[in-house]
Symmetry: C2
Amino acid sequence: MIFEDVAKDVVERVYGALASLIMGRDGIPLSMYHKEGVEIELESLGIEYSNVLAEVNRASGSIGSGDLSELSILTEKYMILLRIINPDYFMCLIMAHDGNFGKARYLRRKSLPKLRAEL
Amino acid sequence: MIFEDVAKDVVERVYGALASLIMGRDGIPLSMYHKEGVEIELESLGIEYSNVLAEVNRASGSIGSGDLSELSILTEKYMILLRIINPDYFMCLIMAHDGNFGKARYLRRKSLPKLRAEL
């Protein structure tokens, strides 16, 4: 299925990518993929970040900056890239701190039209 | 004062940078600077994004990804770069959509030790 393919593709093709998921903004996952040995509770992560997206969207709306399209989060352990697909779905990619962020972002954007056409 | 200098420096040196602020995590601004003609309600923006930072930090803590260091937000109109200085303060940079994000990020990181020494 296209959703599994997209989730897997970016993880396998980008240096440092660990896991990926496509998720409803309501916190229900559509597809998830992680590299072997990666122990991240993907579903909880997706739910936490769907809350974050709602908060960022609210903040962006209140200052008139228009709809949110992308959010990237750098923490001590991970780099997390969130990309809005449409008002109902988003993609989430979890990378190691030294991963190839630029390539991940490029591949995510490239996959958007395909995903939008399906959803 | 060093805080004014840092806030001004990145806005004047980076293509597409519009405004910058250094703010307490409690929503009280320390310094603000914007290009002439830029009409963004900087104080409200800072307050909104200090709430966002709290939400992201909570989410990152709950999935064990460690402390947040940087957050970048791409919306229809702006690119917003938030950088944690220390547990009490953060920097916020607002850029046009096509601004030089890489240079902004580099300059922000470079100014961190100076700011941390002062705060």
